[in-house]
């Protein structure tokens, strides 16, 4: 019951963001928010702020390759304000070169390693757009950096998450895209993923459609269609599958960027990892993924998920980028229900905490804000400290999980991509019967484990008895 209340509270809180941005706009400082006053009612066994350090993540690759190194060039957040202090870059590129590349990439986001595919050594890198401008500026160091990731004679793909048109228009504002003449070993693919207010409008339309129970069938279907939500899901998943396909099937490394490299870029890099990397389908691995590809990679959570709460004038930055990512993960989870260690509740929980939380994890827009300005690590509690307690984890564990070491290719046909009812219809209808069925399923699985254990004990017992008998009978 308590939990119910809490969830309601969070939900209403979220709703207030969605529909009444002015309501809470008087709070003009993050430091007045709940996480700064929250005192945990549980004993912290493992401090989540230190659970996923870049050094540890790097160690996972370093046994397989020596082509990469950790760089501390951004230690003071001077080279790239939205990057973490430690990033992984090609070994052959020194910090001086990185500084130069940073001046050529949007927001200083020079290409860094996002994922290393152990199977064939191919990598996913991500960055901001190159600042070519209208006169086609180039940067030798940039070209050298990304070529350094290719093996001799190999080609790579650059996946631009904007349409060619949008990318061309970006040149007028100083941005742009990699000219193939200057990057002859790379082939550019444009996969358009929508951004900002278009996504926000989509979410608002969808929530509106779901909340009006008086819609007849035609109206409901046309509202669902008009929201375009599932179109966005399909676009994002398709881009992620394409990225994974390049890596795993084509054996080609890729660089992914959009404009800033903090939204659609992260959707694609993180989903590609869900497809490619079994570890990211475990609870811990997924937490590490969110930490690495979203929090440390500088997805501006404050602007995207919470800003409207205290500053409605800049509401245009609001966008459900992270929710779309979670929805895409849910879609894959639905298609591979036994391949994930976590269940739907885990994803719902992350959605709730990204929008409103007693923990500091999703506060701020990047590491420099959360570490230096807000001092979240000192002043607030990490979400992971709470989630990773055994008692909490059990709620988020998928009873069907069986480690699956394969690359999992989801279907992206519209018939295979349903609406995420657990999020969008959750408050509009009772899920009592579905919950009971889920419990029954858990019971069957638990009972199976019990029986297996019992059979094993009995077999051992019988074997011992037989051994004893055998000794008796032996002359």
């Amino acid at each position: 019951m308590e939990e119910m209340c809490f969830q309601w509270w969070v939900f209403l809180f979220c709703l207030s963001f969605l529909f009444a941005p002015q309501a809470l706009s008087t709070l003009d400082s993050i430091t007045l928010m709940y996480p700064f006053f929250y005192r945990p009612m549980f004993e912290v066994i493992e401090d989540g702020w230190h659970s996923f350090l870049p050094e540890q993540e790097f160690e996972l690759y370093s046994s397989a390759t020596s082509e990469w190194r950790l760089s501390y060039v951004n230690k003071e957040f001077a080279v790239c304000p939205s990057y973490p202090p430690i990033v992984t870059v090609p070994k052959s590129i020194d910090d001086e070169a990185l500084r130069k590349v940073a001046t050529f990439r949007h927001g200083g986001r020079f290409p860094v390693l996002s994922y290393y595919h152990k199977k064939n050594g191919m990598v996913i890198m991500r960055s901001g757009q190159p600042l070519t401008g209208t006169n086609g500026r180039r940067c030798k160091e940039d070209e050298k950096l990304i070529n350094a990731t290719l093996r001799a004679g190999k080609r790579g793909y650059i996946i631009d998450t904007r349409s060619l048109n949008v990318a061309q228009q970006a040149r007028a504002k100083g941005g742009g895209f990699e000219q193939e003449a200057h990057y002859p070993q790379w082939r550019r693919i444009h996969k358009s993923i929508e951004r900002y207010h278009i996504l926000q409008e989509s979410l608002i339309k969808l929530v509106e459609a779901c909340n009006d129970q008086t819609h007849n069938m035609d109206r409901w279907l046309s509202k669902l269609e008009a929201s375009n939500w599932l179109t966005h899901i399909k676009e994002i998943l398709t881009a992620a599958c394409l990225a994974a396909q390049c890596i795993d099937r084509e054996g080609a490394s890729i660089l992914i960027h959009g404009t800033e490299g903090t939204d659609s870029t992260l959707q694609v890099t993180s989903l590609a990892q869900i497809i490619l990397e079994p570890r990211s389908r475990t609870i811990r691995g997924f937490e590490a993924l969110v930490e690495r590809e979203w929090l440390q990679a500088g997805h501006p959570f404050q602007q995207r998920c919470a800003q409207s709460a205290y500053c409605n004038t800049k509401q245009k930055w609001e966008a459900p980028v992270f929710l779309l990512f979670l929805d895409c993960v849910w879609q894959i989870l639905r298609q591979f229900p036994c391949s994930f260690e976590f269940n739907e509740n885990f994803l719902i929980m992350l959605f709730e905490h990204a929008y409103a939380s007693q923990f500091g994890t999703f506060l701020g827009n990047n590491e420099s804000e959360s570490r230096c300005k807000l001092k979240l690590q000192q002043k607030t509690m990490s979400l992971w400290s709470w989630v990773n307690q055994p008692g909490e984890l059990s709620k988020f564990t998928n009873p069907l999980f069986e480690a699956n070491n394969l690359v999992i290719w989801p279907s992206v046909a519209p018939q295979s991509l349903p609406l995420w009812e657990g999020i969008f219809l959750r408050w509009n209808r009772s899920s009592k019967y579905l919950d009971e069925a889920y419990e029954e399923m858990v019971n069957i699985i638990e009972y199976n484990k019990e029986l297996q254990a019992k059979v094993n004990i009995l077999r051992r017992q019988l074997a011992e008895l037989e051994t004893e008998d055998g000794m008796q009978e032996s002359p």
Binding site: K191, C210, Q213, H215, N216, M217, D218, R219, W220, L221, S222, E225, L230, T231, T238, C241, Q245, C246, R249, E250, R334, Q335, C338, E402, L406, I408, W409, S411, V412, A413, P414, Q415, S416, P418, R429, Y433, E436, A437, E440, M441, I444, I445, Y447, N448, Q452, K454, V455, N456, L458, R459, Q461, L462, A463, L465, E468, D469, G470, M471, Q472, S474
Partner: protein
Amino acid sequence: MEHIRTTKVEQVKLLDRFSTSNKSLTGTLYLTATHLLFIDSHQKETWILHHHIASVEKLALTTSGCPLVIQCKNFRTVHFIVPRERDCHDIYNSLLQLSKQAKYGDLYAFSYNPKQNDSERLQGWQLIDLAEEYKRMGVPNSHWQLSDANRDYKICETYPRELYVPRIASKPIIVGSSKFRSKGRFPVLSYYHQDKEAAICRCSQPLSGFSARCLEDEHLLQAISKANPVNRYMYVMDTRPKLNAMANRAAGKGYENEDNYSNIRFQFVGIENIHVMRSSLQKLLEVNGTKGLSVNDFYSGLESSGWLRHIKAVMDAAIFLAKAITVENASVLVHCSDGWDRTSQVCSLGSLLLDSYYRTIKGFMVLIEKDWISFGHKFSERCGHLDGDPKEVSPVFTQFLECVWHLTEQFPQAFEFSEAFLLQIHEHIHSCQFGNFLGNCQKEREELKLKEKTYSLWPFLLEDQKKYLNPLYSSKSHRFTVLEPNTISFNFKFWRNMYHQFDRTLHPRQSVFNMIMNMNEQNKQLEKDIKDLESKIKQRKNKQTDGILTKELLHSVHPESPTLKTSLCFKEQTLLPVNDALRTIEGSSLADNRYSEYAEEFSKSEPAVVSLEYGVARMTC
């Protein structure tokens, strides 16, 4: 056999239905008397029953051969390319002939031989006994009795011989009423609710025109309402849209005038007719068969097809019916035009909501036998078993199955059977492999001597029932006595596993359902193992206490022999051995998925880049 000119064609290509790059498998096509068979180079077999073929189309000749598109009634679509036009033409003509038989005798059921003797066959037909079913409902009783009026199909040819009517309705009343009802289908009992003493009755529309009345019909309705001791008011549900019913008045038919009948409440519920339903399904299939379908086209197609709207209408009508009985304790008379399509849908679905028996495997068979087969739903015409009027074909029964599927989605523990059962039944209403669904009414079935010449489907399904069990079914929960589904629009979803049954690439790659089902099976086996082991241990222990003295003696003489340490019978049970098959992730090959198309676009434009298309990659661990 005279229709088959070519029995085998080699080097035939089977195209992937959804691939925009015409990806294909090459293999050999065989034509048998009953099936079309394609064996691809991986030795995978695709069997298509001739009766399942809804349409065959020969498209314009291409450079690689002659395309042949076959659409099946079970929603399978296959696209072959036959290298030589002559072969294609032969196959095309043969299939045209074989898929549209002119007479019942040529249907598969009359040649199908599952190697049963006559008494087994007869037993199979006796498995479902409707007299037994009425007894289960509690009739005959003091209010309802079996009428012999239609014993020789004299009053109504499309009704069964045995009909239950109110005890106070005399034969002249019945005969009089039947003359006032379309096709003589007068009001009779469909379901009796023992607790509420209320009844669901069914009939066809009255021949009321603009002003005609029939005293006997009025009496019969009154008798029905009197047979309910609790509530004298009864509902008359006309399942048609009001406009359609009014239009029928001009043709001398129509609906009941409340003024002429005492104690009735008249209600339209607005389910569309068979023609609307047929074209609705056609539109739906057109939309979801599109290559490279976008999300928006899918939903706008789903909306404009109106399919889910129709499903919701049927469901809403059934809920109205169930509520009249449970909440108001009122009897209900249901009709449409002829009382064999919409009426069957609403009566059967309403009974299913009310009575948990119909949610069991056996009960569901009984329900279909009663409200569909015996009351003369025209299966042969609606399913197009014979080469007949295409305007009589309509997915009325498919809609019923879909409504049941929606209920299983909302109440995952209320049904003994799973989706697989519904799909299997759907398969067989078109297969003509068994006699159950042949013909259009009981009289016709008797004339065809189906019980002597064909087999009944039900015993075969029952024998295989393990495959159709719902592992989460909870028979104990009494709460499920009456189902109250939620019919807010967002609860209705596209039934992918029906309409894309054979498009494996669109399905989830792992099935929770199969996994739980196997685990349930395994649990039963484990329980048995535990019992066996416990008794063996007990035996051993008894034996040991007997020999304990000798043992102690021997023990000091013979030191432990190391070979005896590991016993042969002791093996650690591996977790879930039954699951190995499940781990094969079907359709998981990359090339099956549509995002590869995007890769193809750029691989085409630049030949230096290797194509991203791959053959079938096996995802087996």
